[in-house]
């Protein structure tokens, strides 16, 4: 769609690097829904599980996945639903109607943030440069989600099955994020795909 511009739509790299140590990919226009509700209320959790097809992760820093939907635990009563691009309105409507009469909040924040995948041979060192959180595999297994700092901004960081990291970053900080990434990758080479 020509009337949509993702937070990182305008970034440019001087030249493409053949054997880049860091590879960045923006998962453009993914649907982001913020869901809040009482995890101890079975009616709430069961209704959500029914609509989404998967139970909400209740353990701190955990996640759940089904098809193209990924759910991040953000807080005891807060989750981020990442859904396929363009389906967020439908998912929101489905949840609203299923949860009618209950106390919950669902908020479309798809334009407020974006999902960026970071991969590459130098990923570990890049993460050590960028975040105070311990991203070592012994401490950050696949499927774990943490909300932490990334340089001087924040990020929600998720470990993918292939060992790469998905980062949710705020739209207004996207330019700063990319400036930092470009600078921190200087020694390794950065490719944007």
């Amino acid at each position: 769609m020509t009337n949509m511009y993702t937070p990182l739509h305008h970034i440019t790299l001087p030249d493409t690097v053949a054997d880049a140590g860091i590879v960045m990919r923006e998962d453009k226009l993914r649907g982001h829904l913020n869901l809040r509700g009482n995890p101890e209320d079975q009616a709430f959790t069961e209704t959500v599980a029914k609509v989404l097809g998967v139970a909400l992760p209740l353990q701190p820093n955990s996640s759940a996945e089904i098809g193209s939907t990924c759910i991040y635990w953000l807080a005891p009563n807060e989750w981020l639903l990442l859904v396929a691009a363009g389906t967020q309105d439908q998912v929101e409507a489905d949840l609203r109607s299923a949860l009618m009469g209950q106390h919950f909040a669902i908020t479309d924040i798809s334009s407020g943030q974006t999902l960026v995948n970071l991969a590459g041979a130098k990923l570990d060192e890049l993460m050590m440069k960028s975040t105070v959180y311990d991203c070592h595999s012994s401490h950050f297994p696949v499927g774990k989600v943490v909300q932490t700092t990334f340089a001087k901004t924040g990020a929600t960081i998720y470990k993918c099955t292939d060992g790469s990291f998905d980062l949710v970053i705020r739209r207004s900080f996207a330019d700063y994020f990319f400036l930092w990434l470009k600078d921190a990758s200087e020694d390794y080479g950065l490719a944007v795909i």
């Binding site: 511009y5 809040r36 334009s111 440069k129 070592h136 340089a151 207004s172 700063y176 921190a184």
Partner: protein
């Protein structure tokens, strides 16, 4: 390459240098040669260079004292021009081809120093405590003294150019952090590494081994170096172990957080050819093993600062590690066994040991016997009481002393020598333990301070505990390595006999003359603190060791008194008739050794210093020449100059466009909080001053938020989306603070309210257009709702389709004109902005920035929280009593404060309008407001100007300000005296300058 100097002190073989790789370097303008593996200090000593600088206060010639971080004298000005680095120690600079260094002081040269003669004068003029005495009286003379002192003394200079290098940081995490890679550290890391734990071991030297790099001892039947190489290779091969050489742990903080500086390319040249020159490792460790070793103490005797007086362990290190013997005829003075090994090493290198001068009356044991067997003269119960020489040692005065070490008991003999190696005992490197607040404890048996109790999960191994034998260090390291990994057993080691004869505690070598009459006996070389200076300080009443330190500058240098502190404390204790334990020690602070500012900054410099937040339309603003203003971290368009327009001209044009046709502002930065839940209304009732119970879906309302003290802290418009759903806006800068504030009340005070808050600031992009043509413009893009004034009233909002995009339109106004705010998901923000600009072309739509927004709202008397308010104004002070609902069921935040006498009094400062009497002037913002035109001192202050602008549509200056009792002074004249002598008169008036009836925005 020819050998320009013959490296007269270089041994034919031995040491860890590579003689096949000669390196040329320049010292004070002359070329010399050293080898790969040298430090600058070892290369200088190899070339027979004795004088490396002049002292701080007395400008006395100084030579290399030590071989590492403890070095007090050999501060270098390394490199030239923009690359120059001030004050690194020659002992820690690895030699590279083309290295250039000069002394940091000494003019015209270190060998012939004019300042020396001035220094002799300065020395008399600058007794201990000089700075304090001078600061006290006469105060006005300080500037004069200071110039003289700064010129005469001081060390290197920093480059005035931008640093050509970059620096970065890594955040590290580990189970076990081992600091120091000597025998104890290596043994600990080996144990921990083999257990599979995540281990980091760091050492400031270019290679691991610590004291083992300069020893002839054996471990497990092999040479110590072989053991070091094996262990280092094993550690390097472990995936779970990270080995950091050239990495100095310079700070140890709470919760086992450590900071280390890695010198990545300093050994290759002045600047890095790629990547960072230095890197800071920010290490978070579960357990920390400190194996930082010990530093040898010098002995305090007359003229002990002459070049040629060196630490005994340093002499041994230069011989064994660098193949350099720094003297031909050597006297070794020792209070313990360490000096004997050095004497044997000098002897083994083929140079003359004139004598071992042992202060102990009856030394014995393995090393004593070995020295005897080597035929070395040993003078027991003697001391070198004075060194003599002009620019370097040429003689040593040796005299018998008594067992107490306090008196010379016989005739003095003078021997000729060019090196005096001094072994005054060892000081454990307790510095890091001090960083976390632990105070070192005096240990009488080792005559040194050892680490005190610590709150950290910290383990100690080796010489830091006073365990000075290699075997003891290895075993302690292995034991700690096992302990931190909860292993039952640890590796055992075998070394040859290391039995020691007890040391003598001797901190001030006696002289035939009294301390005050003897030649200077230096305690702290870098700050020229003498035994006599400490005695003077003590006589003048300075008894606390912290006071003595500050009065004398003991331990103040870049070396933090690594060699001088213990002697100074012991001398103080003796002067005061106390024990050292009673006197105690000062404690060390980070950094252990100096750290480059560049490294501390890392990459958080330039445009990475502080994140700049951008709206979805930022690219458009850039393309259209906007100047930007910082609002919090946001970059907001400030104004859009056209051609050669000045800022004022651009702002006038933008304001008039809004008043006469239509202008558009990017309002995306306003904080936005989505509020959902059955108690959302009640929640709003409690956090805002006004009532929210009856706000219907489709309606908006302005709200004022107060802190508990009743003072205004944020404002904004909140829209009712439906009964259980509201959208709150906040100020741009206050968004995060407001969300935290609301969550705090929800989570801690009102958990019974069923409300959820979600930040949607970044999700919505807002195009706010204002002006008489605003409706005509919107009508071109939106045809699915009735835009008429009757159907879509002021303070209504509607869901609608604008330019084919689903949007929320708010009919609210911050300009006083007919205005609409079109909100769309930010992915479509840029598209929407472009569509509105294109549709507005026929009306001459003009983008305007925050400056015009400020003018337009000030013309209407709308406040900006944080500019017109400062946390000390109530709604009533702002003339906004109309927004305070007094009869809500549940009192809103801040309500109770209104009945306080101070908030209810009538003579508070009120926010009022100010109209300059001279219509052409704009009163500077911040100007003080006073009651009289005649300036008298003191003068009662009435308040100050908070906002002030030129109003293009009114044709005169306008201002808002706070004035005492301002609401009761309408029409009165007040005055603003300015720094340039002008006194501007202004009339107090209503803050609403434009369209007081509000007809335009209701249109």
């Amino acid at each position: 390459m020819t050998n320009r100097l013959d490296q007269c002190n270089r041994m034919a073989e031995g040491g860890r240098i590579d003689r096949s790789q000669p390196l040329t370097f320049t010292w004070n303008g002359k070329d010399y040669q050293g080898y790969q593996g040298d430090t600058l200090a070892s290369a200088m000593l190899a070339n027979g260079i004795k004088v490396v600088g002049r002292s701080f206060k007395y400008a006395r010639p100084r030579g290399i004292l030590g071989h590492g971080a403890e070095e007090a004298n050999a501060l270098m000005q390394l490199g030239e021009g923009k690359e120059t680095i001030p004050n690194p120690r020659a002992t820690q600079i690895e030699l590279f081809a083309g290295l250039t260094a000069k002394a940091t002081n000494g003019w015209p040269s270190v060998d012939f120093d004019l300042m020396h003669w001035l220094g002799k004068l300065g020395g008399k003029m600058m007794p201990v405590g000089f700075y304090y005495k001078t600061f006290m009286w006469p105060e006005k003379m300080w500037m004069t003294y200071e110039k003289f002192i700064r010129k005469a003394a001081g060390f290197g200079h920093a480059s005035a150019h931008p640093d050509p290098d970059i620096y970065d940081k890594l955040n590290q995490h580990c189970d076990v952090m081992v600091v120091g890679a000597g025998p104890a550290g290596l043994a600990a890391a080996l144990e921990a590494g083999r257990s599979g734990k995540r281990v980091i071991i760091a050492d400031e030297q270019n290679e691991f081994g610590g004291s083992l790099l300069a020893t002839k001892e054996s471990i497990n039947g092999q040479s110590a170096i072989t053991w070091v190489e094996q262990v280092t290779a094993e550690l390097a091969a472990m995936d779970n172990v990270q080995c950091l050489s050239r990495t100095c742990v310079f700070g140890y903080f709470d919760h086992n957080f450590l900071a280390a500086l890695e010198r990545r390319t300093d050994h290759q040249g002045m600047t890095a050819t790629s990547g960072s020159r230095q890197r800071i490792h920010r290490i978070r460790a579960h357990k920390v093993v400190l194996a930082t070793g010990a530093i040898e103490r010098p002995l305090v005797f007359a003229n002990n600062d002459l070049p040629g007086v060196m630490l005994s362990s340093s002499v041994a290190t230069y011989i064994n590690r660098y193949g350099v013997v720094p003297g031909n005829r050597c006297v070794v003075m020792t209070t313990n066994d360490s000096g004997y090994q050095t004497a044997l090493d000098i002897n083994g290198a083929g140079r003359t040991v004139v004598a071992i001068v042992d202060t102990r009356q009856q030394p014995s044991g393995r090393l004593f016997e070995a020295a005897q067997a080597a035929g070395i003269t040993i003078k027991t119960g003697h001391a070198v009481i004075e060194a003599r020489g002009s620019n370097q040692v040429s003689n040593a005065l040796i005299a018998p002393i008594d067992a107490s070490g306090e008196n010379v008991t016989g005739e003095t003999v003078t021997v000729s020598c060019d090196l005096i190696a001094v072994a005054g005992g060892w000081s454990p490197v307790v510095h890091l333990t001090c960083h976390t607040g632990s105070r070192p404890k005096w240990d009488e048996t080792i005559a040194g301070f050892v680490p005190g109790d610590s709150d950290q999960d910290q383990y100690l191994a080796g010489a830091i505990t006073g365990e000075y034998t290699t075997l003891g260090a290895l075993q302690a390291g292995a034991k700690m390595g096992a302990l931190v990994t909860a292993s039952e057993t640890s590796t055992s080691y075998a070394c040859e006999d290391e039995s020691v004869c007890p040391p003598q505690a001797l901190y001030l070598v006696p002289h035939t003359k009294s301390v005050s009459r003897a030649p200077k006996q230096f305690v702290d070389f870098q700050n020229d603190v003498t035994a006599a200076g400490i005695a003077l300080a003590n006589r003048e009443g300075f008894e606390s060791i912290e006071h003595v330190k500050r009065y004398t500058a003991l331990g103040f240098g870049t070396d933090q008194g690594k060699t001088g502190n213990i002697n100074g404390m012991a001398i103080t204790a003796k002067n005061l008739g106390k024990t050292i334990a009673e006197t105690g020690t000062t404690i060390f602070r980070p950094a252990y050794t100096p750290v480059t500012f560049g490294a501390l900054g890392g990459r958080d410099i330039g445009e990475l210093l502080d994140p700049a937040r951008h709206t979805a339309m930022h690219v458009w603003h850039q393309q259209h020449g906007a100047e930007f203003e910082n609002v919090g971290q946001w970059k907001r368009p400030w104004y859009y100059p056209k051609g050669n327009e000045t800022m004022q001209e651009a702002v006038n044009r933008e304001c008039l466009a809004v008043r006469n046709s239509v202008g558009m502002l990017d309002a995306s930065t306003l904080g936005k909080i989505d509020i959902q839940g059955p108690d959302a209304r009640e929640f709003l009732n409690r956090v805002y001053t006004n009532a929210w119970s009856k706000l219907a879906p489709g309606k908006c309302r302005y709200g004022l938020m107060l802190k508990e003290d009743g003072m205004v802290f944020d404002d904004g418009v909140t829209a009712c989306i439906d009964d259980n759903h509201f959208l709150m806006t906040t100020t741009s800068g206050g968004a995060a603070g407001v969300l935290s504030w609301l969550e705090l009340w929800l989570q801690t005070e009102w958990p019974e309210l069923e409300v959820y808050l979600t930040s949607v600031t970044d999700h919505w992009a807002t195009c706010s257009f204002s002006g008489p043509n605003a409706r005509n413009l919107l009508a071109k893009l939106c045809d699915d709702i009735d835009l008429s004034a009757e159907a879509f009233k002021f303070m209504d909002w509607r869901n609608a389709t604008v330019a084919g995009v689903k949007a929320r339109i708010f009919r609210i106004s911050f300009t006083g004109e007919l205005a609409f705010e079109v909100n769309v998901p930010a992915n479509k923000g840029l598209y929407m902005w472009q569509q509105i600009m294109a549709a507005g072309e026929e009306f001459g739509i003009t983008p305007y920035g925050t400056e015009s927004m400020h003018v337009l709202r000030a013309e209407k008397g709308y406040i900006i929280v944080g500019q017109d308010t400062d946390g000390s104004l109530t709604p009533q002070d702002c003339g906004m009593d109309w927004i305070v609902a007094k009869n809500k069921d549940f009192s809103f935040l801040g309500q109770r404060s209104f009945s306080r006498p101070d908030t209810s009094r009538e003579d508070r400062k009120h926010l009022v309008g100010l109209k300059p009497k001279d219509p052409t002037v704009v009163i500077p913002e911040g100007a003080q407001i006073v009651p009289h035109a005649e300036v008298t001192i003191p003068m009662p202050m009435l308040g100050h100007v908070t906002s002030s602008y030129w109003s293009a549509c009114l044709g005169h200056g306008i201002a808002l300000g706070t004035v005492k009792s301002g609401n009761h002074r309408m029409g009165e004249t007040v005055y603003c005296p300015l720094a340039d002598g002008r006194v501007l008169a202004a009339e107090i008036c209503s803050p609403v300058f434009y369209d007081p009836q509000g007809e335009r925005h209701h249109d």
